[in-house]
């Protein structure tokens, strides 16, 4: 049986837990960031470990392989420059036509990107978040979109001075308004993934007449105000009608793999 002082300890811990759980959201976030900053010295250690491993891999890579990679990157760079030139020309043409028809200019997202390294992942199995090595001193604020070269990765959910938490696409707390690039331009909401396969997410709230086919591209619609339009999300895998045919749901294979993120780009306003 427990003795009296032990009951006091028991009561104190339970009381403390209840107080912490019921703190106002702002205070709880501050406390969370303060406790998280205790890990700051180890963040550098983890980063240094990853860099050492990368350097060691580079050191043992043969010269022929490096030359081949260099050549491949040079070709890719030339192709991308050509594509950029074409895109510039298309944008100019689009601008002229808009002026001709007196249509309002669309607000494009400015490519103000900042590269960040993923330093920690969520230790709990029921959330999909990561920590990156950029914080408020680098100009980051809440709800900034986070991208990879393949597509959308998530959004910033909390920011401390030197690091930030990113809630990844597929987490229940990261809902994205999405648009399917088909004839009918169907819009829906990207929701949570399953606990097992993080690269498959649900696209819900599509109309029952949605014309979905596997392989169609899904991009951000720009509705909701957080994500600018046109960022690739993934491709349609399959679709089905739900709620007795009231609306359609689809599964989307994400373009960016949330389980293997190492470096991400934060889109600054």
């Amino acid at each position: 049986m427990l003795k009296r002082p032990q009951y006091i300890v028991l009561g104190l811990v339970v009381l403390l837990a209840l107080v912490v759980l019921n703190l106002p959201a702002r205070t709880a976030t501050r406390l969370k960031l303060a406790v998280g900053s205790l890990f700051l010295p180890l963040f550098g250690l983890a980063g240094a470990g990853q860099q050492t491993a990368a350097k060691a891999t580079d050191a043992v890579l043969p010269r022929a392989e490096l030359a081949r990679q260099n050549e491949s990157l040079r070709r890719e760079n030339q192709q991308l420059r050509l594509q950029a030139m074409q895109a510039e020309e298309t944008a100019r043409e689009n601008f002229r036509l808009r002026q001709l028809f007196q249509w309002q200019q669309q607000s494009h997202w400015k490519p103000r990107l900042k590269l960040a390294r993923v330093i920690l992942r969520d230790p709990a199995n029921w959330w999909r978040t990561v920590q990156i090595d950029l914080g408020s001193k680098h100009g980051l604020t809440n709800n900034l979109p986070v991208l990879t070269t393949d597509g959308l990765a998530g959004r910033i959910s909390s920011v401390s001075l030197t690091h930030s938490q990113v809630v990844l696409i597929g987490d229940p707390n990261c809902k994205v308004s999405a648009l399917v690039q088909n004839e009918t331009r169907d819009t829906g909401v990207i929701g949570a993934s399953g606990p097992f396969d993080t690269s498959l997410v649900e696209l819900s709230h599509l109309s029952r007449s949605a014309n979905l086919k596997p392989g169609q591209n899904v991009v951000t619609s720009g509705l909701g105000g957080i994500f600018p339009p046109g960022i690739p999300i993934g491709k349609i895998v399959d679709s089905r009608t739900v709620e007795y045919g009231l609306y359609t749901e689809a599964r989307v294979k994400l373009a960016a793999n949330p389980g293997a993120l190492e470096e991400v780009w934060v889109l600054l306003p």
């Binding site: 028991l10 992942r121 959330w127």
Partner: protein, 183 residues
């Protein structure tokens, strides 16, 4: 000795949480991350006092929640429930047996995530749950079970290496000396 043990447990909790967040090896291969706080709690409940259990509960829970999307403090109560449950009945447990440590680790690592998820659902959050969660729960339980005897071994080694040893009394007593006479 108790202070040394408590300090050692708290350092281990800090490093365990960091390891879970920084090295997602098991989550890549097995699609689930093993939680090392319940095995630590088993050790603390069997080998230390209630103060150490309370400190591990609060510090470990706060460390874990600070790196996770969990609401702050949600991991404290499940860890404490497991710790206090073992502490209550620790006189009846063969704590030196690896088999007992394994079974306790299995039970603690299985109960903690269930209690945490129940608390999250009660608080109105929507964690990622599905059929895959059963697999993740099995991996967490078995991983914690395997880690528990390892923690006992590691802490035993640390105490032998860094802790002070109790002075052992010799059987020699001067008042029991046999005096021989002349004959």
């Amino acid at each position: 000795m108790t202070t040394f043990r408590t300090t050692l447990i708290l350092i281990a909790a800090f490093l365990a949480v960091f390891w879970e967040a920084a090295f997602p090896g098991t989550s890549r291969w097995l699609k689930a991350q093993v939680d090392l706080l319940p095995p630590l709690m088993v050790y603390a409940s069997l080998c230390t006092g209630l103060t150490s259990i309370a400190l591990l509960t609060v510090c470990g829970g706060l460390f874990f929640d600070s790196l996770s999307a969990n609401p702050l403090g949600v991991s404290i109560l499940p860890l404490f429930a497991v710790g206090i449950g073992i502490y209550w009945r620790r006189e009846l447990i063969l704590r030196d047996q690896p088999y007992a440590q394994f079974v306790l680790g299995l039970a603690a690592s299985g109960a903690t995530p269930i209690l945490t998820v129940l608390l999250l659902l009660t608080a109105g959050h929507q964690p990622l749950l599905g059929w895959g969660t059963i697999w993740q729960w099995l991996v967490m339980s078995l991983g914690g079970a395997v880690a528990t005897p390892i923690f006992f071994l590691l802490f035993g080694w640390c105490e032998r290496a860094f802790g002070h040893r109790r002075v052992t009394e010799t059987s020699f007593r001067p008042d029991r000396e046999i005096r021989r006479g002349r004959f």
